[in-house]
Symmetry: C2
Subunit: 490 residues, 2 copies
């Protein structure tokens, strides 16, 4: 399917039920646990405690007696109870000994934060990786990694970082990059996204993108699937899994290493092999998945599929900002394949009384300045568009929330927030709100804008930092719904 061909290996199939059982460990050991707070061997233990993992957590390190109130063990073999899941933060040189310990303990799932294998480009370390593969196969251990952050699963209270959303959600994200996992959980979390599971799987020595895609396709908690992939291990299997997944759920795919330079970077990152981009792109499209070019683009579509709401077509009603901003919104919509029907005669008639000075001048996008800055007129117009059968979706580019705050008008501010939360909700229409970084230099207003944005995001409003990203996402989102022949996002 692609030119991606690694050394052929005997496949290790895994069913949904098997993988799901592996993702529900009752006990976790962190090997390479550390007293040094700057060390990930410290962070894995602390984050599991803070996140509330309910089963036993075993720090493992011959030089530690205890850690964060937990008894530490010299070796895996010394732990008294069963160990379902092992997280490894030891150097690569200690990895074979660790696998032996896991084998003795009957561990079924191993996550290697441990890096410096084939991605270094050195033969010695590539050989160590091959030996590791032989050993885990012999021991019947399944492996996430090496060179990755591992598993985030809020229903099981498992995490690999601090400040991650504690509530579970509907997005399943598989990623070869740990930094993208952090980025999506943190930036996405602040935008109101929640996740069923995030799997950072690095070099994919054992469990790979096809396994995780199949898992998320089956997983009832996952409604939207996103994948960051640098190189696929089993081309044919991957595209079959992608097709199966995309037939059931929206699947967003970001390919890292599209260019020669990017591929070289990906090789040094996760030892990814090259693929032909034209073949790749055609195959992703044919599978019915959505390709994105950047992690921001992926976040934007995650927000659309999670929070924008259903749309039956591409006719969008836009509150466009003032003057030139409104013109820009119009151009961007047209260039994104969105239609901008003019307000109907019926809507104009209704406006004749409500906006006597401008009823015949209201267009689409609406120039927000014709409301004279009155927020109730702004939201009245938005609500009329949301109620009108002429539109399938609404984009609200309103800077009024910061303005209301800067005027100290608490009542107006609360009213805007409430109406923004409800916009389009009862009308069966997709809606997006543009709310960028605050412009003010007043720190208390700035903080209030951030709080308001968080409140809106938490209430399920699809928020975008600027009009171009909102329009781009809306265009791709409604086109995807149309192609799938479904007016509903899920």
């Amino acid at each position: 399917m692609t030119s991606t061909t690694s050394e052929p290996k005997t496949p290790r199939p895994v069913t949904y039920q098997e993988l799901d059982a592996l993702f529900r460990p009752q006990s976790i050991a962190v090997v390479g646990a550390s007293a040094n707070e700057r060390n990930r061997g410290h962070g894995f233990v602390k984050d599991l405690i803070d996140f509330g993992f309910p089963g036993p957590i075993y720090p493992v390190n011959p030089r530690l007696d205890e850690m964060l109130g937990l008894k530490a063990y010299p070796r895996l073999e010394d732990i008294p109870g069963p160990v379902d899941f092992v997280i490894s933060a030891v150097p690569a040189s200690a990895i074979l000994e660790l696998v032996e310990g896991a084998r003795v303990k009957g561990t079924r799932l191993l996550h290697l934060f441990t890096a410096r294998f084939s991605e270094t480009g050195r033969e010695e370390e590539a050989e160590l990786e091959r030996e590791l593969d032989r050993r885990i196969r012999a021991a019947g251990i399944r492996l996430i990694g090496p060179n990755c952050m591992g598993l985030y699963c809020p229903t099981q209270k498992i995490t690999f970082g601090a400040d991650m959303p504690s509530e579970p959600g509907n997005i399943g994200f598989l990623t070869q990059s740990g930094s993208h996992a952090f980025r999506v959980l943190k930036s996405g979390g602040a935008r109101g996204l929640r996740f069923s599971k995030v799997v950072s799987y690095g070099n994919a020595l054992d469990l790979n993108e096809a396994d995780f895609l199949d898992y998320f396709a089956e997983d009832p908690d996952t409604e939207i699937i996103a994948a960051y992939i640098e190189g696929v291990k089993e081309g044919r299997r991957f595209f079959e899994a992608l097709r199966r997944a995309a037939a059931r759920k929206p699947v967003l795919v970001l390919k890292g290493g599209r260019s020669a330079a990017g591929h070289a970077a990906a090789s040094s990152h996760t030892a990814a092999l090259a693929s032909q981009m034209t073949v790749w792109e055609a195959a992703v499209r044919q599978a019915g998945a959505l390709e994105v070019r950047t992690i921001n683009g992926m976040l934007d579509l995650m927000v659309a599929f999670t929070n924008a709401g259903p749309a039956r077509g591409n006719r969008v009603g836009v509150m466009g900002g003032a003057g030139g901003g409104m013109v820009e919104a119009a151009d961007l919509c047209a260039e994104a394949g969105l239609e901008l029907p003019p307000p109907s005669d019926e809507m104009r008639e209704a406006l004749r009384e409500k906006l006597p000075h401008a009823w015949d001048w209201v267009g689409n996008p609406i120039d927000i300045s014709i409301t004279g800055g009155g927020h109730s007129d702004t939201f009245m117009l938005l609500e009329m568009m949301a109620a009108s059968p002429d539109f399938d979706a609404i984009i609200a580019n309103v800077s009024g929330i910061e303005w209301a705050l800067s005027r100290g008008d608490e009542e107006m501010f609360r009213d805007m927030l409430d109406r923004a939360k409800n916009l389009g909700k009862d009308s069966g229409k997709a809606s997006m709100l543009v709310m960028g970084e605050p412009e003010t230099r007043d720190t208390s207003i700035r903080n209030a804008v951030f709080e308001a944005r968080e409140e809106l995001a938490a209430a399920g409003v699809a928020i975008y930092p600027d009009i171009e990203r909102a329009v781009e996402s809306m265009g791709r989102y409604v086109r995807h719904l149309a192609e799938k022949g479904s007016g509903a996002a899920r």
Copy 2:
């Protein structure tokens, strides 16, 4: 040149010297001055006072005796001294009377904030606009507008808004949209941009884009020209002016109303006439100007031309963020036409001692995680790339400033800021820093990040909110320099 053809009018040529004299009024009257703080007739007076306009400011309104400590006059004719510049905030219905007053006072320049002329699409109001044109021609008055914010000129202490940069700078911006004028002055100001003049000129009944382009091309204070245009009044003259300007200085052009929907929006905004986009694009390119698609894209290139520094080619050295972020930086650079040469043998040899664990693993982009988060290694690598003859430009995607602040490490934080300020400065290389919206929810750290960003912007660092916008700008910037055959930005 384009299909733009308005009713042919007798040209009113204006020389650089004439326009420059008009832009230096010794006295200003605001007709339609108001005691109501929410009214622009209040704002124009207050903003001129606050900005420190040194000459007399005359509020004009028959229902006012005084305003903000200034004596008010019933009519222009009642003002005792000369009135060089009149700002009109009266309704359109009062405009002919105002022009008569200005004629009597010998006023040479008139700015009409006053709107509701041909942009409403109503014949009655289009006819009023034509009558206005006849009257100002007869009186020898030159006009900015109608339907616009007018003139911002910091050397003359003239402004149309509060919180605008008080220091003058090197960018001349002509715009049919007042909201884009505010956006560029505020968002651009926060990014360290400063302006020679900003002219918001709305419907361009008299002075138009060709006049302002010619002016900025001649103006010694203007090194970079930017234009937001919805419809040109004199197609041939405009493209001749554009060619002259672009031969001397970088010219950024944003066309509003590119699409049919955008054009309809532009008509209702500034009564702009249609142009054929393919003809337009080819003509802008042929003139040697840079076309941009969004106001953010324009701001990004303003930052590049003002603060990035010179570049002799497209070979860029990138500190790429961690893991997947680094791969993304590589793909984006390749897709933007930037070359990513690998570190030279010489650089690797120098690194053998300085980074013994990773010297042979350093690529381009550099994966920031190989420095183990050590900020001094990060900046050492950046400084080595800046000093190496293998690179023409540097992009630093470092999230470390927020990290240093969150650790409370003041010394590290100051050192990072100082090194970021100097990056590339002495090496004759373009450099850009990626520093987005802070990720933290801690308000004091968030405010400190904003302050740090302002400090860097004020020190002349070219800052971008994300890697995609930095790379896109760098690609267009270095390509433009190459086409102009000049390694220096100006």
